[in-house]
């Protein structure tokens, strides 16, 4: 298929449709409102359903309802909106239902601002909602990757009957890049929903989608089922990319999303000065590529986490490498995106430290 120039937000909407999703419930918020704008036009063309909900709570619970019936369903929002959805995300995880949530992150806390940030890392990877649950969190760095990961997200959501989150900073939503829509795996490849979806119980045992287990033994059993899934992710679903790791770098950067691209330009600039720096870019923020980071950190000896936040992923990087290896941090927040030159200076300072 020919390449198209698309805004990240629109490309995510189209990717969901190409993946077979016909259910989208959402409430607009900058910087991702173009997803709803695009799908308000596009969903009717494919006989799909788009409801602009009365609030993020409404949208998230419509997602819950559609997911319970075994339908492909997704929603998109930005940071404050995702906070409002977090209660329902916990319920969906507890009820083991597949759904895709897209967070095009803006600066916080509170209403914060409308410019790009990566300050929802904790929320996405450590909970957000209550209870012992995890999301599979995918972080695109280009519009093409936003398309590919959105399609993958539906596959993973059904494979594990678990909510999957796409975590993109505002820039991923706003910028335009060429994209290509590769044919998704046929919908027939999705696992059967018969054993759990509430599609009408005529002639079979009743399926119930719920997260309430008043019997502590039953609840703990559900906790173990969930934990077993998350353990499989650690083995099968860790994804990451690397840059310039083969030239004996003196410093290892860990960065994701737009920040990783800015770091790759900073690495090119330092290379011209004769300084080699390498990069590991987590594509799955959860499960986190801890083993790969440890392996390279041991060889290189020096690590820095570069983020558009006050320092969140850095805690996972430090946990990955242990306390014998120092992990530095550089970040800008509030919607400010550091320039490659600014990152170069931070990396040079880290190398001197």
């Amino acid at each position: 298929m020919a390449k198209k120039l698309m805004k990240g937000n629109e490309a995510i909407g189209e990717a969901a449709i190409q993946a077979g999703c016909r259910n989208y419930f959402a409430y607009p918020i900058t910087p991702q409102s173009e997803v709803a704008e695009y799908l308000s036009r596009r969903m009717p063309e494919v006989q799909g359903h788009f409801v602009q909900a009365e609030s993020e709570l409404g949208a998230a619970n419509m997602v819950f309802g559609a997911a319970a019936t075994g339908e492909l369903v997704f929603t998109t929002s930005s940071s404050p909106g995702v906070s409002l959805m977090s209660e329902t995300i916990s319920y969906i995880a507890g009820a083991q239902l597949p759904a895709v949530f897209v967070n095009i992150v803006r600066g916080g806390p509170g209403l914060g601002g409308i410019l790009p940030a990566q300050s929802d890392y904790f929320q996405a990877t450590k909970g957000g909602g209550h209870g012992d649950y995890r999301l599979l969190v995918l972080a695109p760095a280009t519009v093409q990757e936003a398309v590919d990961l959105t399609m993958l997200a539906f596959q993973l959501a059904f494979k594990y009957r678990n909510p999957v989150m796409i975590l993109g900073d505002g820039m991923i939503g706003q910028m335009m890049e060429p994209v290509e829509f590769k044919p998704p795996p046929p919908a027939a490849d999705l696992p059967s929903v018969e054993t759990w979806a509430t599609t009408g119980a005529k002639g079979r045992k009743c399926n119930i989608a719920h997260s309430l287990f008043l019997d502590p033994e039953a609840l703990e059993k559900n906790n173990h089922v969930l934990a077993a899934k998350y353990k499989v992710w650690q083995k099968d679903e860790i994804r990451f990319a690397t840059y310039n790791l083969d030239n004996n770098p003196r410093l290892l950067i860990v960065a994701y999303g737009t920040m990783a691209r800015i770091c790759s330009t900073a690495i090119d600039e330092l290379k011209q000065k004769g300084v080699e720096v390498g990069l590991i870019r987590p594509i799955t923020l959860y499960p986190f590529p801890a083993a790969a980071i440890l392996q390279h950190a041991k060889k290189i000896g020096k690590v820095i986490s570069v983020e558009m936040s006050m320092g969140q992923m850095v805690e996972d990087v430090q946990a990955a490498v242990g306390h014998d290896i120092h992990v530095g941090f550089f970040g800008r927040a509030g919607g400010i995106i550091p320039s490659p030159d600014e990152v170069v200076q931070a990396l040079e300072a880290e190398l001197r430290a």
Binding site: M175, M176, D341
Partner: protein
């Protein structure tokens, strides 16, 4: 080879459009491109801008803090952005609407009376095409032929505007090739 440009003016001048046309043209020529709009709180009558990168290789940082070229279509954009042109870079000034210039001597300045040229061709609305033409005439970031094709595509529902936009685009392109006014 990587070309980076910021187009800046006020809302309604077609800033976002010429940035997207440049990106489409680059993509059509098999290059990597990225287009980024200014987004954020902005005052009415203030500045609207977009940046475009056209590159033979993978584009690392999509954010260009100091572009090699900046085209300013109104006075607030000149004041706000002229210091951001990279050293030895290019500043295109729409002299029809801007009666000032930059005090920088380390960059090339290309003075383009874009609104005047567009009005002489038939519509002042095409001033943005003049600026796009001048930028591409000067840098050859994409070919004129790619841009011609995009003008025809862009105005396919209003074919009466194709010719005038093509004339303004080509006039700008000629200026870009010829008028290399060194500021110092």
């Amino acid at each position: 080879m990587q070309n980076e440009v910021m187009f800046a003016g006020f809302g309604g001048q077609g800033i976002m459009l010429i940035g997207q046309m440049l990106a489409y043209a680059g993509m059509g020529e098999g290059k990597n491109v990225v287009w980024i709009p200014s987004y954020g709180p902005e005052m009415r009558g203030g500045t609207a801008y977009c940046t475009v990168v056209v590159s033979d290789k993978d584009i690392g940082s999509p954010i260009i803090d100091r572009p090699e070229s900046i085209a300013v279509l109104n006075r607030p954009s000149l004041d706000k952005f002229h210091t951001r042109v990279r050293g030895n870079g290019l500043l295109i000034i729409n002299t029809s609407l801007i009666d000032a210039t930059t005090d920088r001597s380390d960059i090339d300045v290309l003075n383009v009376p874009a609104n005047q040229i567009a009005m002489e061709a038939g519509t002042g609305k095409a001033a943005n095409m003049c600026v796009l033409g001048a930028y591409v005439g000067r840098t050859k970031a994409v070919t004129l032929e790619s841009l011609r094709g995009l003008v025809r595509y862009q105005f396919k529902s209003k074919p009466q505007f194709i010719d005038v936009n093509l004339r303004v685009l080509e006039k700008g392109y000629e200026l870009g090739e010829q008028l290399a006014t060194k500021n110092n």
